[in-house]
Amino acid sequence: MSSNSNDEKIILEAKALEAWFGDFQAVKGINVHYFEKTINAIIGPSGCGKSTYLRCLNRIHEEIEGTKVMGEVLLEGKNIYDKSIDVVDVRKRIGMVFQKPNPFPTLSILENVVIGLRLQGINKRSTLLEIAESCLKKAALWEEVKDKLHSQGTSLSGGQQQRLCIARALAINPPVLLMDEPTSALDPIATAKIEELMNEIKRDYTVIIVTHNMQQAARISDYTSFFVYGKMVEHGLSSDIFTNPKEKQTEDYISGRFG
């Protein structure tokens, strides 16, 4: 675990962020900022709005009918909810890995990785192959798939599919990567592999990861936020949150007396 001094660059910031499903408010006034090239964990009891919050950060929340977002999310100082901003550009700069591995079933392993580049109009074969190799290596999947790049993405195991999705997200080189419980559907070995690769990708990316696994948060993250009922109860250095939480609720939760 490394700690960062406060003079490091802020890359992403939420200001009074609120999110609704119809009349139901799932996220209630979140204010927080994230430093560049850190791993930030979000923990909290299930149903407390962690996923919804994360999905507001790349504007995926609005793809569900009847939802609403208020407040601001600043990416390098620019509000991604501003009317002048193209949502497509936002998502190219803030990548996402979902809870359930979701490779495109009709695409090969290789095509799954480079689809984001193709969407950006990059079609040169050598470039695509080069980026695919480097991203699959970063996602610790290269050795397992290098001989079958043209078989279906969905022919892989669950853990491999999730690493494929990580490679796919890395391929468009987003400065920020959101991960929503990426290991919750995986076995311990696959989980360990993904935790390992997070330490690698931290050198180039800022990661915000939702996890229901507190040990995981403690192991991999620099900062941790604790959510309850749509509110952020506490946010700080993981070393502080897990050893010396300021709030009683946080303490109860991490010592297992809550949720």
Binding site: I60, E63, V88, R91, F98, N102, P103, F104, L119, A169
Partner: protein
């Protein structure tokens, strides 16, 4: 004790299901047998060249089925070419662009079109579509594409084009409602995967909805084709029932179904009746083959 009971229940269900499926298959075989028997005199006299002969003149006992096969295939293919893209657009529109509440109403309306009896389509075709084709559509097509042989010659309103249009309208609900239910099966997380990569809505639709649905869309199209091949009443009213093969889509023609509907009641020579049954048998085979071909296509597509 308990186990035994559920086992015997399963066995009973199995026997009932087996009986029903045997009955259905038996019925099918019986229909084929009776058709074959009724067609036999014509099969014996005309042989397979029945398919290739193009003159049909019951008075002089000349029987060739080619004009009807031509009419059926041409009208069905034109109808499919027109209806498929429209149906896919409608299905996409209902799934992806309309809010759920409005989409439900639209889909209800589209399905109501499928419930309209064929004869009503026929009447509407005679009173509205045929004059429209004669006065507006045909002159327009002649104006822009008149150099092609398909768009030459006079239009009397009734003919291949009008019949194809009515067929297209009739199969749009079939193709679009099946396509819609296929699109609805696409999990939300697939769409979000596309969005999260920075897809525009159009790119998302292409990547996460159309591409994985190709085999499903193909089977929807085949069901539409099945309906178009066999459609009788509306086509009989609008195609002009002239057993001729022409290049122009404005010209009258006849389909396999329309000639049967038209001539069966006043067919009074045995050979005429047998020849109509021969056509019925051929229509049966064509529908069967088109289904078979489509199934193999679907199988191939869903494998890759």
């Amino acid at each position: 004790m308990l186990k035994l009971k559920s086992k015997s229940q399963d066995a009973l269900l199995f026997y009932i299901l087996r009986l029903i499926s045997i009955l259905v298959i038996g019925l099918l075989l019986l229909i084929i047998y009776i058709l074959f028997k009724s067609a036999l005199p014509s099969i014996v006299r005309n042989g397979l060249s029945f398919i290739l002969k193009s003159d049909w003149n019951p008075v002089e006992e000349q029987f060739g089925a080619l004009p009807f096969i031509f009419g059926t295939l041409v009208t069905s293919v034109i109808a499919l070419v027109l209806a498929t893209p429209i149906s896919i657009f409608i299905a996409l529109f209902m799934c992806e662009y309309l809010p759920k509440s409005i989409s439900r109403i639209v889909s209800l309306l589209v399905e109501m079109v499928a419930a309209i009896p064929s004869i009503v389509f026929g009447l509407w075709g005679i009173f509205y579509l045929a004059p429209f084709v004669k006065e507006t559509l045909a002159p327009l097509l002649k104006n822009y594409f008149g150099y092609l042989p398909f768009f030459q010659g006079p239009s009397f309103g009734i003919g291949i084009l009008t019949a194809s249009l009515i067929l297209a309208i009739m199969i749009v609900p079939t193709i679009s409602s099946i396509s819609r239910s296929i699109f609805e099966l696409i999990p939300q997380h697939q769409k979000e995967a596309a969005y999260a990569m920075g897809s525009t809505k159009y790119e998302m639709v292409k990547l996460a909805i159309i591409t994985p649905s190709i085999s499903g869309i193909s089977s929807a199209v085949v069901l539409g084709l099945g309906r178009a091949l066999g459609e009788t009443m509306a086509v009989t009213m609008l195609i002009g029932n002239s057993p001729s093969i022409t290049k122009s889509i404005f010209a009258p023609a006849a389909t396999m179904a329309s000639v049967m509907a038209n001539e069966y009641t006043d067919a009074n020579t045995p050979m005429h009746i047998a020849s109509l049954c021969y056509i019925a048998l051929l229509l049966f085979i064509i529908t069967f083959l088109s289904n078979l071909i489509a199934k193999t296509i679907v199988k191939k597509l869903s494998k890759t």
